[in-house]
């Protein structure tokens, strides 16, 4: 199938869904409106709400806050994950001692931490960053740990025979291997950074996309809720394509599934 046909079909799905939504929420079927506007709003209202946000400029402040929280959560969580992952992988004893606690902490649904973070860190951005960090950290940690442990024996021996010191093995062998594992989970960890920020905002804050959605819900403004969700989706997709670009640059050396071998 050509790209154009594919794109046309993809657009068609959206058009059909939106048209159905508009139709069922405004035109009665057998004397009854199937999607009552109070619960489902309608595309026109949602769209005009989005336009209003962008026209008045209020949305930018909220987007900027959510973006900033996500970035902080991602950076802090990744740095901590890389450091601890490296440390555990190189110190099997430490890893063995902490293993049950790491598993326990990771098993905990992070949402329950949100009120505690709000209590500790206030309703500003840091309680949201903290929530995101707890999500990002474990993904990066597990991947880096794996990446360091699964370095090929032969590649390591080769490094040694070429005369690498422990520090040089770190830099030329362990580090790139760990990073490649980390980057392969980049989409997930960036996604979770955003989830942490938005969920945190939703549960208690004064700004951000999560706050916007929560506010609309508070006054039964369904159009506002849907508008917030659409803006959030677009925001995530934008960030995700940014990640794809970064990934392409950083992982050029990795074979893709389509590559031939031999």
């Amino acid at each position: 199938m050509s790209r154009v046909t594919l794109l046309a079909l993809q657009v068609l799905v959206a058009v059909v869904c939106i048209a159905l939504w508009q139709l069922l929420s405004t035109v009665p079927v057998f004397g009854k409106i199937l999607l009552p506007p109070f619960f489902f709003s309608n595309p026109v209202d949602v769209f005009s709400q989005i336009v209003k946000w962008f026209a008045s400029g209020v949305i930018w402040k909220h987007l900027a806050i959510t973006l900033w929280e996500s970035i902080l959560a991602f950076v802090i969580g990744s740095v901590a994950g890389v450091l601890v992952g490296f440390w555990f992988a190189r110190q099997p004893l430490v890893a063995a001692v902490f293993d049950p606690y790491v598993k326990m902490a990771n098993a905990l649904p992070r949402v329950v931490l949100a009120p505690i973070f709000a209590l500790w860190l206030g309703l500003g951005i840091w309680s949201k960053v903290a929530l995101g960090v707890t999500l990002v950290f474990f993904i990066v940690f597990f991947n880096v740990y794996q990446g360091v442990k699964e370095v090929s024996r032969t590649v390591l021996d080769n490094g040694r025979m070429l005369g690498m010191s422990e520090g040089q093995l770190m830099r030329h062998v362990y580090w790139p291997s760990a990073l490649s594992w980390m980057f392969s989970s980049l989409h997930t960890s960036v996604g979770f950074a955003v989830v942490g920020a938005v969920v945190g905002e939703y549960l208690g804050s004064a700004a951000g996309l999560g706050y916007l959605i929560q506010q609309a819900e508070g006054i039964f403004d369904v159009a506002g809720v849907f508008a917030g969700m659409f803006v959030l989706s677009a925001f995530v997709i934008l960030i995700d394509s940014g990640v794809t670009l970064v990934e392409r640059r950083l992982l050029v050396w990795r074979p893709t599934a389509a590559d031939g071998r031999g």
Partner: protein, 272 residues
């Protein structure tokens, strides 16, 4: 003056502790000397302990008994005089071909601006001058082996350890690589310990061919000198009458070991 001995294994024994606590003796009473400038090939059935022996010479494995001497000095730790061409893929997948070759000098602290032209030169001499920017996964098996060869040679090691370097390649590529290796070796005649399961390849390349028996407790059971004139061409040397005579002689010994090795490995599989 006698030529110094580059690698000397004296009564080396290597044992592995298996998962279930038993001990598997892979190689026993291995006695082998490689003189400076000498090209020695080791041939034996699969699983007899050829890679193990090279690892001992490289210092990656410590023998359970016996000694390893490098230029008459007991080997402690890694063998810093040796370059090792591994049987499995050992290139750094995150480095380009050029960087893979350059790394050997870079880690010595030579500035990159000096290293890169040399790395390029070595890539060219293994016939991959145009592939400098490729990552290992973009190269064929034979090309990867050539990059690995350049990676080892750029450090100018006094001893070259090669573990079935042409193993996974097709017959034609093997011969091309063999000639390439002989050309490079002819330039400065390093001591070479070359492992192969291909007897013809061993005779065509080496000054001496050493045969190992089937494991466990594999030993060196034969040592033949190859008197074919140098420089050699791998294609032509195989037509030589002397080549055939030697091949027949060594094969009569090797054949029994190959059969034994095969029988033992199937037995072992049945026992499991």
């Amino acid at each position: 003056m006698t030529t110094p001995t580059a690698v000397a294994l004296e009564d080396a024994k290597v044992a592995f502790r298996l998962g279930d606590g038993r001990v598997y003796t892979a190689v026993e009473k291995a006695h082998l000397a490689v003189a400076q400038g000498e090209f020695v090939a080791i041939v034996g059935p699969t699983g007899c302990g050829k890679s193990t022996l090279l690892n001992v010479a490289a210092g990656l494995l410590k023998p359970a008994a016996g000694s390893v001497k490098i230029f008459d000095r007991p080997l402690a730790g890694l063998n810093r005089d040796a370059g090792y061409l591994f049987q499995a893929d050992a290139l750094f997948p995150w480095k380009t071909a050029l960087d893979n070759v350059a790394i050997g000098l870079e880690i010595k602290g030579t500035p990159r601006s000096e290293v890169l032209p040399q790395a390029q030169k070595w890539l060219t001499s293994v016939g991959l001058g145009a592939f400098a920017g490729r990552y290992p996964h973009m190269l064929s098996g034979g090309q990867r082996k050539r990059v690995a060869l350049a990676q080892v040679l750029i450090r100018d090691p006094k001893i070259l350890l090669m573990d079935e370097p042409f193993g996974p390649l097709d017959a034609q590529t093997r011969q091309v690589m063999g000639n390439l290796l002989l050309d490079l070796w002819n330039a400065d005649r390093k001591a070479v310990l070359f492992v192969t399961h291909d007897l013809e390849e061993a005779i065509a390349l080496a000054d001496r061919v050493v045969i190992m028996s089937a494991g466990p407790s594999s030993r060196i059971i034969g040592d033949w000198r190859v008197q074919l004139a140098r420089p050699r061409d791998i294609f032509e040397v195989r037509m030589d009458k002397e080549f055939h005579a030697l091949h027949r002689e060594i094969w009569s010994v090797l054949k029994d070991e190959v059969m034994k090795g095969y029988a033992q490995s199937t037995h072992a599989a049945e026992a499991v």
